[in-house]
């Protein structure tokens, strides 16, 4: 018999300061609190993390959250600490031996531990986890388990053993981009009896647009004309750091009255922190960024998301556009497409997978460190598998080439899907979500450029940031008011 959880709203208010749950959150939390293994999908931007953060406060024992992205982990820990959560930490490769030991020795004092999948491969970590009470095991971005998913992570395949080794705590697998096929993969792979809680992926308040151009000049004009009319919090995604900086500088010249900055992974940590917080606090109107930005950002009033370059795949596109309109108000996605733009994501795929020569040399232990981390990770996993099977050199190479080609196909298909979506003359909203859900809900405001929306007629004026005071004494008075 399921327990009743009447107190949940009060707890949500107490720990997070929200008065009510968003769609899906309560159902998932109740399932977890009733100790059912759960597979849940919620659209991007709908507060997935509350689904384990609240239970971690209410359950005895530790909640482990496996997350593939270290930067996301660190942002989450920082955010929670700023909200007054104390018993929380992150276990990842950025820690030195001493810091890691410190955490492992005091494991049971934590309520919530973010953990990279690599960390869970270490016998020392597993041994410690066996000795403590893990009550909830969360697999964030659970689609990484599926070999059919774009973001397949070999390390995720080992999670099944980890779960068994630590005594099968309640498992919560979460994703924002899992097709029905991938959902089945997750359950089959984890080999658990799971309660499926599937919420539609589509975002009813976002309007989708594709603007095609014949050359870069034209593309640029389209960009300027949208920015001109939309005075509201805006993100512009790029796939190159250099172009991010260039376009940012141009926009600053074109729109001197707006506050515009750029953000990418090549910046100093301190500057990244400042720019991210400026955007959160509404000190910036427009941020030009690469996909490095936006991990765990919680800004609710982003009105416009522009893709200046093609995202790597359709999943990334859904995730990135999903950062718009978390407040439920009308928001717009604009993808600027220039013929030939697909070269970048295709090139990206090639750079992420090893070529035949690299595979052979890796098997022969001739190379290791000079390969990019992503190739190393792939090769290491495949080599370990081949060794378990006691393959010969030729068998190993043959097998790995086959797996590589399969990965390449999965990834390329995702780019082709994106291209198909760009060129479709059917409803963009329906086309975007048709592989995730059978019915797409009607748009709350406007649907897409095919159905009913004319981007050229859309103008909006929202809180434009104020410029800084000039005098240092005034600034100091504002910072440190004393009477």
């Amino acid at each position: 018999m399921n327990q009743l959880h009447d107190h949940l709203e009060a707890d949500l208010q107490k720990f997070f300061g929200f008065s009510s749950f968003r769609e899906g959150q309560r159902e998932i939390i109740e399932s977890v609190l009733n100790q059912s293994h759960t597979l849940a999908t919620l659209p991007t931007g709908s507060g997935k993390s509350i689904c384990y953060q609240l239970p971690s406060k209410l359950m005895d024992g530790i909640t482990i959250v496996v997350s593939p992205l270290i930067s996301l982990m660190i942002d989450q820990v920082k955010l929670l600490k700023s909200q007054g959560f104390k018993r929380i930490t992150a276990l990842n490769s950025l820690l030195n031996y001493q810091q890691k030991s410190q955490i492992l020795n005091h494991l049971s004092e934590y309520q919530l531990i973010y953990c990279s999948p690599e960390m869970l491969q270490q016998p020392r970590v597993i041994e410690r986890l066996k000795q403590v009470n893990v009550s909830l095991f969360v697999i964030d971005e659970a689609h990484c388990i599926s070999q059919w998913g774009y973001e397949f992570r070999p390390d995720y395949l080992r999670l099944k053993d980890v779960i068994q080794l630590i005594g099968e705590p309640t498992v919560l697998a979460l994703s924002a981009t899992a097709t029905p096929q991938i959902q089945d993969d997750i359950i089959e792979f984890l080999d658990l009896d799971m309660n499926k809680i599937i919420y539609p992926m589509d975002r009813v308040n976002i309007t989708y647009n594709v603007i095609k151009s014949d050359n870069v000049v034209e593309k640029h004009e389209h960009l300027l004309s949208v920015i001109e009319r939309v005075k509201a919090p805006t993100m512009i995604y790029f796939s190159s750091r250099q172009v991010t900086e260039q376009i940012c500088a141009q926009l600053q010249r074109e729109f001197p009255d707006r506050s515009i900055a750029y953000y990418h992974g090549g910046m100093e940590q301190q500057d990244r922190l400042l720019i991210q917080q400026q955007f959160m606090l509404g000190q910036l109107d427009i941020i030009c960024c690469t996909s490095a930005f936006g991990m765990g950002i919680n800004k609710s009033d982003i009105r416009l998301i522009i893709h200046y370059h093609l995202p790597n795949n359709i999943e990334s596109f859904i995730q990135e556009t999903g950062r718009a309109g978390r407040d439920g108000e009308h928001s717009v996605s604009v993808l600027l497409y220039n013929k030939g733009d697909e070269a970048i994501p295709f090139h990206m795929i090639e750079s992420e997978l090893p070529d035949d020569k690299e595979i052979k040399r890796y098997i022969n232990n001739e190379i290791d460190d000079e390969l990019p981390e992503i190739k190393q990770r792939f090769l290491k996993f495949q080599k370990d598998l081949a060794e378990k099977e006691s393959f010969t050199f030729h068998q190993s190479v043959e097998k790995i080439i086959k797996v590589r080609d399969q990965r390449r196909m999965v990834k390329s298909n995702s780019v082709f899907e994106l291209l198909k979506w760009i060129h479709t003359e059917q409803c963009k909203r329906q086309a975007l979500f048709e592989s995730y859900q059978s019915n797409t809900r009607p748009a709350k405001f406007a649907c897409c450029d095919v159905c009913d929306f004319k981007l050229k007629e859309w103008a909006i004026k929202q809180d434009i940031t104020e410029k800084h005071s000039v005098n240092w004494k005034t600034i100091l008075d504002e910072l440190l008011p004393t009477k």
Binding site: K78, L79, S82, Q83, G84, Q252, A261, E268, Q269, Q270, D271, L273, L274, I275, Q277, Q278, L281, Q283, H468, V470, N471, W472, K473, I475, L476, E478, L479, L480, P481, T482
Partner: protein, 360 residues
């Protein structure tokens, strides 16, 4: 105002024909190698040491290439040199401006002090507006611990008043532009400080200028605080003195063994290190530790002879000096004398703080 361009060019003028262009890069980044530590003493570039720890090689190379393109410096086989045009440009540089930078003196405390000041300001600002939920702009646990400790010592209201008063006192000693440049980088309640790039855009400077100007401001502050500690009861507590010298940790071990009276052969065996490595350590120690006596390794008359050759040839290139000395001593001994050159020179002649090879 301090500019990156003139600072680098001035440094290069000192290193011209003596070192490669990367010597200045290592100095700006504060590399703790025997070579770099020795260089800043030899060429009197202590002011610039560690003033740009995060300087990227690509950024640095852009500047070097710019100087080459402008015909200000030219690369030679083993080194580089300032052209006549370059020397003219250097002549125009207002050298006094570099007295605002004190890299070697403060490199162990400046960044942490600034980080602590930023976190303390952010914290007190938010608390003044009754907000205790914010994301700290500083991640360093040491800095966070330091600030937390301070916050427990007094009431928040008193601390806020004190911080504002002491900070104002420091800022009043700067010119308006510098004061503003510093203050816009501070974060507080509902106001996030500007990044170096944004400050550069605001003041129409290069990002690299903003780094050096900020450092020079911090160094001026630290000078003032250390000279008048009684006036800065709060801000002086943000100075985190690390309790060891700037010796690399491995050189420090060698130093400890030397202090115990072991000779170099014995230290080699104890530490399982090569002769050349131990010698590197000794040179580093000689450079760093003022009281370290090199006469155990080089006798007084040889030292005198080497100092004379350096004065005559006006070079610090080991190879050239060795030729002039007819290889009568070892490279190790030569490097030791070079490390202490300023001391020996100063005892013979009157001490000149800035000497440049004269052009004639």
């Amino acid at each position: 105002m301090i500019e990156f361009k003139t600072t680098l060019l001035f440094m290069l003028s000192r290193l011209s024909e003596q070192r490669t262009t990367s010597a200045a890069y290592h100095i700006l980044r504060g590399k703790k190698s025997s070579q770099t530590i020795q260089d800043i003493h030899l060429f009197q570039l202590k002011f610039g040491f560690s003033t740009y720890p995060k300087l990227k090689k690509e950024t640095y190379d852009i500047w070097i290439n710019f100087f080459v393109d402008q015909g200000i410096i030219e690369k030679t086989n083993e080194s580089f040199r300032l052209t006549t045009k370059g020397l003219n440009v250097v002549e125009q540089i207002e050298i006094n401006i570099f007295s605002k930078l004190n890299g070697f003196k403060f490199h162990r405390i400046d960044e942490k002090w600034l980080a602590s000041l930023q976190l303390l300001t952010q914290t007190l600002s938010n608390l003044s507006y009754s907000n205790n939920r914010f994301i700290p702009v500083q991640d360093d646990p040491v800095v966070q611990y330091q600030v937390k400790k301070l916050l427990k010592m007094q009431s928040k209201e008193k601390l806020t008043i004190q911080l504002k008063q002491e900070l104002t006192q420091l800022l009043l000693k700067l010119n308006e532009a510098d004061a503003r440049l510093f203050v816009v980088q501070l974060t507080g309640h509902n106001r996030v400080g500007l990044s170096k790039r944004q400050v550069a855009e605001m003041f129409h400077l290069h990002e690299e200028d903003v780094q050096l100007i900020t450092m020079s401001i911090v160094h001026q502050f630290l000078n003032d605080i250390q000279n008048n500690p009684q006036q800065y009861q709060l801000l002086k507590q943000l100075i985190l003195e690390e309790n060891h010298t700037s010796l690399t940790s491995t050189a420090k071990k060698t130093y400890e063994l030397l202090e115990k009276g072991f000779d170099l052969d014995k230290i080699e065996r104890i530490r399982h290190l090569k002769t050349s490595t131990i010698q590197d350590h000794v040179v580093e120690i000689a450079t760093q530790i003022e009281k370290f006596d090199i006469t155990a390794f080089v006798d007084e008359s040889t030292i005198k002879q080497v100092v004379q050759v350096i004065d005559q040839t006006q070079t610090r290139r080991l190879k050239t000096l060795m030729q002039h000395l007819n290889h009568s001593i070892s490279y190790f001994q030569l490097r030791l004398v070079l490390a202490k050159y300023q001391d020996y020179k100063a005892s013979d002649y009157s001490y000149e703080p800035i000497t440049r090879p004269s052009r004639s």
